[in-house]
């Protein structure tokens, strides 16, 4: 059997359905790979082999008797440890939650169970999805497979790192100000923040309820569409134009392979032209040129400065997360890591008036983006504006924390996907974002799939994790 570490979901599904490999064999192979490699990455907080193998055997029995459920049946995945799985801890990577055990599955875990997917473990994150990377927590931070000395992005750090190292073909993350797209960018994989509330947050520990989103990370765009299709509620799947067909599990969105000819694509160029690292700006501009070469009409989009979006989002996040953590911060603040404690405490400095003003500003900013994109099928912009800092350089981490163009799409709730768009001279991945209209995931995937094929960066793996 060839090494399955970098098999796509689509390849796993094809082999499983053809019974070239069993889910148990696939799961055992990935568990062995995690055992062999994750000591250098810390991408998993918890690996659940017995549970995974039992689920895999169940999937094998169903596939053998012809009860095939679709493209995730028997496929292993991992979930960010902020998502409840019945009987397992949801630590949120914090000592505060060290002894927690979930009583029931989050709705998205139930959906993946229904799809026959196999949970293989829970992945590392920034403390409560905000305070990281941190070296003073009960578990170490995840490392970047492309360079273990630099930050893998966050807060869904382990979800990005595990994918990039070929430990699992799919992970779940959450994204409040970029926490799916940041590790996707930094680790060279694909991550989507879907439309607000398209993927259920029930059973996901909150950070900032009006900005929080959940979604999948994968190694390519096709896999991402397969994964998202399984996570959507049926009524939302119909609204998005997703048609899951067991006989065509690779194509849950019927028209995403139609290319870009005749489409209009907006470019949020002010988000990155003046502020981004030159290599990142150049890679983003190159992606825009490829889109034009593929037959799309490209037009610049003008909105308020990125700093306005980031300030508004930060204020909302701090106010809303304070509401979640105030009681613990009053009685147990010493149990948080330093970075998490400080970020969460900052919310105590805000007034109700500040929060209301920020929500009003958010409404203005959301309308502004929707108006700018009115004549566009989708838009493109950079993801990170700088390369990830050394993971042990606290000052550099602070400086780079908000140097990204992701928060605007948490504020307006529209779908945004990060995909690989190049590499730096030092070998670090570069990502760009494809941004859609609300409920426009099918068009986001259409744009991302065409760009992925044109750029050719999917499928590259970190040299140290062959």
């Amino acid at each position: 059997m060839s090494e399955p570490g970098y098999w796509s979901i689509a390849e796993c599904a094809r082999r499983l359905r053809a019974r070239e490999i069993s889910s148990e064999e696939l799961t055992r192979a990935l568990l062995a790979r995690i055992e062999r490699l994750d000591g250098a990455l810390n991408s998993f907080l918890l690996v659940t082999p017995e549970r995974a193998l039992a689920a895999a055997r169940s999937a094998d029995a169903e596939i053998a008797r012809g009860d095939y459920r679709g493209g995730l049946h028997g496929v292993p995945y991992a979930a960010k440890d902020i998502i409840d799985v019945a009987g397992l801890p949801t630590t949120c990577h914090s000592a505060i939650r060290r002894d927690h055990v979930a009583e029931s599955d989050a709705e998205i875990i139930t959906r993946l169970n229904d799809a026959g997917a196999v949970l293989i473990g829970k992945t590392a994150l920034h403390e409560f999805a905000t305070g990281g990377p941190s070296l003073d927590l009960p578990w170490p931070p995840a490392r970047n497979p492309w360079n273990r000395e630099v930050h893998p992005g966050g807060s869904s750090s382990g979800s990005g790192a595990a994918l990039a190292a070929g430990l699992v073909p799919m992970t779940l993350g959450t994204d409040t100000g970029g926490s799916i797209r940041h590790p996707a960018t930094a680790c060279g994989v694909v991550g989507i923040k879907p439309t607000y509330n398209a993927v259920s947050l029930e059973g996901v520990f909150p950070l900032s309820f009006s900005l929080d989103h959940a979604g999948p990370l994968t190694r390519d765009v096709t896999d991402n569409a397969i994964a998202l299709a399984a996570l959507l509620r049926p009524q939302d799947a119909r609204r998005i134009g997703c048609a899951v067909d067991c006989d065509a599990p690779d194509a849950p969105f019927p028209n995403i392979g139609d290319g870009l000819a005749g489409l209009t694509v907006g470019v949020f160029e002010d988000f990155y032209r003046s502020e981004a690292d030159p290599e990142i700006a150049a890679a983003t501009d190159a992606a825009v040129r490829r889109i034009a070469e593929l037959g799309a009409v490209v037009k610049p989009l003008r909105v308020s400065p990125l700093a306005t979006y980031n300030s508004c989002g930060r204020l909302l996040l701090q106010a809303e997360s304070w509401a979640v953590h105030a009681d613990w911060l009053r009685t147990r603040h010493g149990e948080y890591g330093e970075r998490g404690r400080r970020r969460l405490l900052a919310g105590a400095l805000l007034s109700a008036g500040d929060y209301v003003k920020a929500q009003q500003l958010r409404a203005h900013l959301a309308r502004e983006i929707h108006a700018a994109m009115r004549d566009c099928d989708f838009a493109i912009t950079a993801s990170s504006l700088v390369f990830p800092a050394r993971i042990d350089d606290a000052a550099a981490i602070e400086r780079t924390y908000d140097r990204a163009a992701r928060m605007p799409f948490n504020l307006n709730g529209a779908p945004a996907l990060s995909l690989p768009a190049g590499f730096s001279k030092t070998g670090l991945p570069i990502g760009v974002q494809i941004v859609g209209h609300p409920w426009g995931e099918a068009m986001v995937y259409r744009g991302a799939l065409a760009l992925e094929a044109a750029l050719g960066f999917a499928g590259r793996h970190p040299p140290q994790f062959p």
């Binding site: 509330n197 105590a348 400095l349 929500q359 500003l361 203005h364």
Partner: protein
């Protein structure tokens, strides 16, 4: 929006029921507040119904 002084940060924390913070936590919070807690003046604060995105995203009732 007013950026608080170190004394104001300590007072606000105490008023919120947060006591026993380390001096470097208070210093970090003061610096962070001065750096980040400002809604840009050039961007108008409107009276449109907020949050305006909710109808776009629709609830599930």
């Amino acid at each position: 929006m007013h950026a608080p002084t170190p004394e104001e940060v300590a007072a606000r924390m105490a008023a919120a029921g947060i006591t026993g913070l380390k001096p470097d936590d208070l210093a970090w919070l003061t610096a962070a507040a001065a750096r980040t807690f400002t809604l840009p003046a050039e961007c108008p604060v409107t009276t449109v119904p907020a949050p305006v995105f909710v109808p776009l995203m629709r609830d599930h009732e």
